[in-house]
């Protein structure tokens, strides 16, 4: 049976395009522009989902993106919201939260045992005996949850954009459109967003039996069309408010992060359900949902209905239903004074009776519980808020439209820090104090009349323009409606309950009363205990009633209850939108392609990609690395060190700057020499180390490891701000590439390429020269990090590949081989160099790594000095020592961070360990107790399996042990 009406003006559906789809195995059709729900409803399908806890059949509640019980899956995606997601051809849909289908859901039995499951029941059972809990937990976990996640769902990364505007208007109803027009007249950039597929808000569906709304909508849209500086974006919701007016706007395509000069919140209001027994039976829906069905989708909500209202709005709904040819069994009005009003009279003229001062006491479901059979109406005492059940009237009907009032869609206003107050005229919360640059208009302000909404929108626009510095006249303020748009307490008690307040979570009136009885009588505690508002609709239809009930239970006015905190997001927002297409910046050395050609396997070092080792066909990784080491020890190796930090310190005070920044001495330092640098923090902890090369009296060239380079440069800049020395700091990390040539034949490799002498006398260890290779300027540094005979070439980045090729060419005949960071680590270990970050941790002080030689406490000051003076007075707690395992050790190999154990207690840990083929031993560094740090001391390392491995403290001059 089709519930589709004849074509009507303004409908969203395109009747020329029929969409075929299936739901729960049955074929259906709808039109393009239908939501899943409207297409099904048009086809007479009313049970669209099952509720979260009791698995009750559910249909339409709001059609406004909070019908959480109508979540479906198409087999691919899950938790699809039927009320707002457009139906698409070929969809094969099923409700998510059923056991055996929406009609025959086996879990529906839970509804009949619901008395066993009172509020918070899960806190009260299942934990004794303890060993049974996992059993119950498993059942509870499976019962909870909505859709099943599809592990094959594709990774969809949406684009994320930034946008900037002067005025952002949120909400495209009468108020928002009016605001956008008024703001747009300034010529500034105005953006209006609205979550619905089409603009207009309630103008598009709340007709009240006349054409006034539709005409106003056309008029406003036409005016806005003349303003090219105003962008109107439908199908886009403002997902949250973040500081400095940042508002992410979500569409199907992605997120646009809008930064606005000022923001107008014309977000309207959510209709709130009255609460009565069985107010969740399919066919019982909000009045606005009925109007949306009628005017957006041209679908009858029911054919013979009852309007249950507590405001004048219900009469507008009744008029629209009648216009659509729907029979009305009655309008039931909670208000006793509604009886003789003009609205009731209007309806009476159309043959519809108004039963005033009454309520729907309960709804009777039809036999298979798929819809409404009848409603029972009783008198309602507005003073005591009780149904007077002595005279019950039963009205046959197949649906109910509920109109009890509204709650402002103030979520973003709350997030922005708006203070709200409860207005007893209109009976809703309205803004009391707005943050700078935020303006509210329309229903969020309690303004409901069409003309006044338009006026309030314009007023807010003028204020928004004033805020961003425009000289425009202020417009008169608009007062909230004096006639209550919401009922103060639209709650009908019923001894048998099932009068739902929160449809997401199946929370009934008695759950609140019982929660309060157990002490959860604060709104936040009540929220947490009952879970009201914690479902996917985040309380859009339940929080206000919860507040009203709690106020009643505690006997205090509503405003004393306050509201729960509003957090982003306004609507749940997909992870793929939020995560979006991310950026993963990475740095390549100028030798990256060269390395790649040589078979490099890259590893991440900070943002850099560095060569870990160079693949050799038929050789395992460990052997490959050992072969690279062997080349350095026996012939020569070459490594790309371009990622090293490089900083130039220029100026007359350059040496003084180093004196203050590092622990060592640089006044004086001979031109052409290099010195060790160690950086501490103010608490005396080792942060970084490196070398300072003196190129001229007023120019130092600093080199350090890769990871800390940016942070160290940053700290230098900061201290320079404080010290104000006569220097210039230049970070040249990216400007220079670095290549190390190391090994006994390194000098031979290079000697033909440079025109300076590389002899020890001319270029001793720790010295630097400026020279050229094939016309390329090169800083040539004699370092001893991986081998005694190492030359580091610093070359302008664009020429690095050229120089590398020259060096490789020169070394080819000598057995020069590239080596990577893996070999480098073993090489530096063989050289006995401890490394900050590997052999130290975030608390290590220089005394613990025996670095006294690097510290000049006699200097006037350096960073960390004062702390070192304190630390020096205290006993050292641990000492880093070099060690070897016994010759020929062939047992379980300990790893870095295995512990040093003495008499069953932790003494320290291994920080570096490796088998050195050069030395023929396993060597490493470890922390031990200072009293056991003497050369020759023995200690034990506990390997992963628990086996204790003997080690001996040795000199860090490992290479001297070479046989």
């Amino acid at each position: 049976m089709s519930a589709r009406l004849a074509r009507q003006k303004g409908e969203w559906v395109n009747r020329a395009s029929t969409i075929k789809f299936s739901f729960e195995g049955k074929e259906f059709s709808g039109f393009e522009g239908d939501s899943i729900t409207s297409a099904l409803w048009a086809s007479g399908e009313q049970v669209l989902g099952r509720s979260f806890k009791y698995h009750r059949p559910r249909g339409i509640l709001s059609l406004a993106n909070h019908d959480i019980n109508v979540m479906v899956t198409d087999g691919m995606d899950t938790n699809i919201r039927g009320d707002v997601v457009p139906v698409a051809a070929g969809m094969a849909l099923a409700a998510v939260n059923t056991d055996g289908g929406v009609k025959k859901d086996r879990s529906r039995l839970i509804d009949s045992i619901s008395p066993l499951l009172p509020v918070g029941f899960y806190y009260k059972a299942f934990h004794t005996p303890k060993k049974m809990f996992p059993f119950w937990e498993n059942i509870i976990r499976k019962a909870a949850g909505l859709g099943v996640v599809n592990f094959n769902y594709p990774r969809i990364l949406k684009r994320k954009l930034h946008a900037h505007c002067d005025v952002l208007v949120i909400g495209g109803g009468a108020t928002g459109l009016s605001a956008a027009y008024e703001a747009g007249k300034s010529g500034l950039r105005v953006v209006l967003v609205d979550e619905n597929a089409q603009l207009g808000g309630s103008l598009g569906f709340d007709w009240g039996g006349s054409q006034e709304s539709a005409n106003l909508l056309q008029e406003l849209l036409a005016k806005l069309e003349s303003l090219p500086n105003v962008s109107l974006i439908a199908g886009a919701y403002a997902a949250g408010y973040y500081p400095d007016h940042l508002i992410p706007v979500v569409t199907r395509e992605g997120i646009t992060k809008v930064r606005a000069g000022s923001v107008i919140m014309a977000s309207g209001a959510f209709e709130q359900p009255p609460v009565f027994r069985n107010n969740d039976i399919p066919g019982v829906m909000l009045g606005s949902a009925a109007q949306r069905l009628l005017h957006r989708y041209s679908v009858k909500p029911f054919s013979n209905g009852v309007v249950f209202t507590a405001n004048d709005y219900g009469y507008r709904v009744a008029q629209d239903l009648l216009e659509a040819g729907i029979k009305l069994a009655a309008v039931v009005d909670l208000r006793s004074d509604a009886k003789d009003g003009p609205l009731a009279a209007q309806l009476a003229r159309r043959g519809v009776k108004t039963i005033a001062g009454s309520c729907i006491y309960e709804v009777q479901a039809n036999a298979d519980k798929t819809g409404v059979k009848s409603v029972t109406v009783t008198e309602y005492d507005e003073k005591t808020n009780e149904a007077l059940t002595r005279d019950k009237v039963t009205l046959e009907c197949d649906g109910v439209a509920m109109c009890a009032g509204w709650a402002p869609a103030a979520n973003l206003l709350y997030q922005a820090g708006t203070a709200m107050r409860y207005d007893y005229g209109v009976h809703q919360f309205v803004p009391n104090r707005l943050p700078a640059g935020i303006f509210a208009a329309g229903r969020v302000n309690g303004v409901y009349e069409l003309a006044q909404k338009v006026q309030d929108g314009a007023r807010a626009a003028a204020q928004a323009l004033l805020h961003i510095g425009l000289d425009v006249p202020e417009l008169p303020s608009v007062q909230p409606s004096t006639r209550a748009q919401s009922h103060a307490y639209p709650i009908v008690p019923h001894p048998k309950g099932k009068n739902f307040v929160d449809f997401d979570e199946d929370i009934q009136v008695k759950d609140f009363i019982n929660a309060a009885k157990e002490g959860f009588d604060n709104i936040e505690l009540m929220k947490r205990f009952t879970t009201v508002g914690m479902g996917p609709s985040q309380g859009k239809h339940s929080n206000m009633n919860a507040i009203r009930i709690l106020a009643r239970v505690r006997g205090v006015p509503v405003e004393q209850i306050g509201t729960t905190t509003s957090r982003p997001f306004f609507h749940p927002t997909p992870i793929g939108h939020l995560g979006g297409r991310g950026f993963h910046p990475h740095r390549l050395t100028p030798l990256h392609d060269v390395n790649h050609k040589l078979g490099a396997v890259f590893t991440d070092v900070g943002a850099w990609k560095r060569a870990a080792y160079y693949k050799v066909a038929g050789l395992g990784v460990a052997d490959t690395v050992l072969a690279e080491v062997e080349a350095v020890r026996t012939k020569a190796g070459i490594i790309d060190s371009s990622s090293f930090g490089k900083i130039e310190v220029h100026g007359p005070d350059a040496a003084l700057f180093l004196e203050r920044f590092f622990t060592g001495n640089y006044i004086p330092q001979a031109v052409g020499s290099s010195r060790y640098t160690m950086l501490l923090d103010e608490s005396g902890v080792v942060v970084d180390d490196g070398l300072a090369h003196c190129l001229a009296e007023d120019l130092f060239y600093l080199s350090s490891g890769t990871s800390n380079a940016a942070a160290v440069y940053r700290e230098m800049q900061r201290w320079q701000q404080i010290w104000q020395l006569d220097i210039g700091l230049v970070n040249v990390t990216g400007a220079y590439a670095a290549i190390n040539v190391a090994g006994p034949l390194a000098r031979q490799v290079l000697s033909g390429l440079v025109n300076i002498s590389l002899d020890d006398s001319a270029l001793p260890a720790q010295s630097i020269r400026e020279t050229e290779i094939a016309g390329v300027p090169v800083r040539l540094i004699r370092v001893a990090f991986v081998s005694d005979s190492t030359y580091e070439l610093h070359i302008p980045t664009p020429q690095a590949a050229f120089v590398w090729e020259r060096v490789m060419g020169a070394g080819q005949a000598l057995g020069l081989k590239p080596f990577g960071t893996d070999a480098q680590r073993l090489l530096r270990l063989e050289m006995g160099h401890a490394m900050p970050g590997i052999d130290t941790d975030g608390l290590t002080n220089p005394y613990e790594i025996s670095a006294e030689h690097a510290i000049s406490l006699d200097k006037p000051d350096f960073i960390g000095k004062r702390s070192l003076q304190i630390i020096a007075k205290r006993p050292v707690k641990k000492t880093l020592v070099a060690f070897e395992l016994d010759a020929g050790y062939a047992g379980e190999m300990p790893f870095e961070c295995n512990l040093v154990i003495r008499q069953g207690e932790i003494e320290g840990r291994v920080t570096s360990i490796a088998y050195s083929r050069t030395i023929g031993r396993v060597i490493g560094f470890a922390y031990v107790a200072p009293e056991h740090s003497a050369l020759g001391s023995r200690f034990q390392i506990r390997a992963d399996s628990g086996a204790l491995v003997n080690a001996t403290v040795v000199s860090s001059q490992f290479l001297a042990m070479q046989k």
Binding site: F52, N79, P115, L116, P118, F121, Y122, K124, K130, F133, P134, W136, R141, A144, G145, L146, G147, V149, N150, F151, R155, I156, P243, L246, Q415, K510, N514, E518, G519, E524, R528, P536, Q538, R567, P568, F569, P572, T573, P574, I575, G576, L578, G579, G580, T603, D604, S683, G837, I838, D841, G842, L843, T844, S867, I870, C897, L899, I906, R909, R942
Partner: protein, 413 residues
């Protein structure tokens, strides 16, 4: 269905009684005043009454109980720390937690899921081994596992993390659990209330009366309370409380944010943490993914949310679980974390006689709730801190004897 639930079906009137009395006006004096009605303060009150017979205790809560970090954290309980003193302390907490539902007769949904700290770099692997070795030494079940074992426990995890950060291994910690955070506060509140402790909600501490270096009383929004012992068990507000007694501490407040998705049927059984991707995630018993990330990078004393937090977190979630593109985030929120320089708490006595601190809980407070309550109760009752918390004393900073929990964080940078 357990028989315990039958009483709700059979009785005419709802048989539930108040978890804790609604006290309005405090007495003139108490033996002990506890500032902060979160898990820690309530647990301390409970153990003071239960184990030390000190029942003349007032717990003062500015808002509602459990409304601070107790109700804002991501509910992970674990003991796989780095320092032996840290591991021992948290292990003692885990042990209490395991029997706490029964002790408090409230189902805390204490659910042991196993906990993986994923390592994407060699240096992270080193730290995992360090933690595993210290844990094993202290008798805590943690060990380093390879990719196969991780895949077995969580087959949905993309081990390459979309090629961005391939997983090399993990620290597996068998006792890792989640629990209902609110329930912990409510359970302790009920337990303390039944033993005679008085809990005051909506009661703000305005000042602490110190005379001659000794605590004499507390000024509150509900009047002056005389007492000689005050415990500060707040989070996010510690510096403000310390200011009342003229004490500077190393604590700096940073917001810590979290978010939660729509419910879905259970699929993620374990708790996963990735330091490199700044993600920790578990699936609640309601079916939501509960997710958190690293601290906000600068000092803020508010619980505001930021968009960049959730953008970064979800981006990394997709690296780990590419199929979550269309799963929706429902809500994000924040707590205020007391950060210390060494990532360890500050517990015990202070230079002010009778002023005790239970603070510096950073991102690790929920898991320590029972043991902090127990040890602080002992500290107050005996005016002497037990050995278990000696390493966390305030004076360690003056002595340059920091605890090395942060040491691990900066290893291999």
């Amino acid at each position: 269905m357990p028989l315990r639930l039958l009483k709700y079906a059979l009785s005419k009137d709802y048989p539930g009684t108040r978890f804790f009395k609604a006290h309005e006006t405090p007495k003139k004096s108490y033996d002990v005043v506890i500032i902060g009605g979160g898990g820690h303060g309530l647990a301390a009150a409970y153990y003071l009454a239960k184990e030390h017979g000190i029942t003349n205790v007032a717990v003062l809560e500015k808002g509602y109980i459990g409304g601070g970090n107790t109700g804002r954290n991501t509910t992970i309980v674990r003991s796989n720390y780095l320092t032996p003193e840290g591991v021992k302390f948290y292990d003692a907490s885990v042990k209490i937690y395991e029997g706490l539902s029964e002790e408090l007769d409230l189902n805390l949904f204490y659910s042991t899921r196993g906990h993986f700290t994923l390592a994407h770099t060699e240096s992270a692997m080193r730290t995992m081994r360090w933690r595993a070795e210290v844990n094993k030494h202290v008798g805590v079940e943690s060990y380093v596992v390879g990719p196969e074992e991780i895949s077995k426990a969580c087959p949905q995890l993309d081990m390459s993390c979309s090629g961005q950060a391939p997983i090399l291994g993990a620290l597996y910690h068998a006792p890792g659990s989640v629990a209902r955070h609110d329930g912990v506060a409510w359970g302790y509140a009920r337990g303390a209330d039944r033993l005679g402790v008085e809990i005051f909600q909506n009661t703000e501490v305005l000042g602490i009366d110190v005379q001659g270096g000794k605590v004499a009383g507390v000024k509150t929004s509900k009047g002056y309370i005389a007492t000689t012992k005050v415990l500060s068990a707040v989070a996010g507000f510690t510096p403000r409380i310390c200011e009342m007694v003229g004490l500077d501490t190393p604590i700096v407040i940073h917001p810590l944010q979290a978010c939660v998705t729509e419910p879905m049927k259970p699929w993620l059984d374990t708790i996963l943490v990735s330091g490199s991707l700044h993600v920790y995630v578990s699936q609640s018993s309601r079916g939501e993914l509960v997710m958190g990330s690293s601290l906000d990078p600068y000092e803020v004393h508010s619980t505001r949310s930021t968009l960049d937090f959730v953008e970064g977190l979800t981006s990394h979630m997709l690296d780990m679980f590419p199929f979550l593109s269309n799963i929706k985030v429902v809500r994000q929120w924040a707590g205020m974390a007391d950060m210390t320089p060494d990532f360890a708490p500050i517990m015990g006595k202070t230079p002010i006689e009778g002023f005790y601190l239970d603070a510096g809980w950073g991102t690790w407070g929920f898991k320590a709730t029972p043991i902090s309550g127990k040890t602080m109760a002992e500290t107050i009752a005996r005016d002497h801190a037990p050995d278990l918390i000696h390493s966390f004393r305030l004076s360690r900073f003056e002595d340059y004897e920091l605890t090395g929990e942060k040491g691990a964080a900066s290893v291999g940078h």
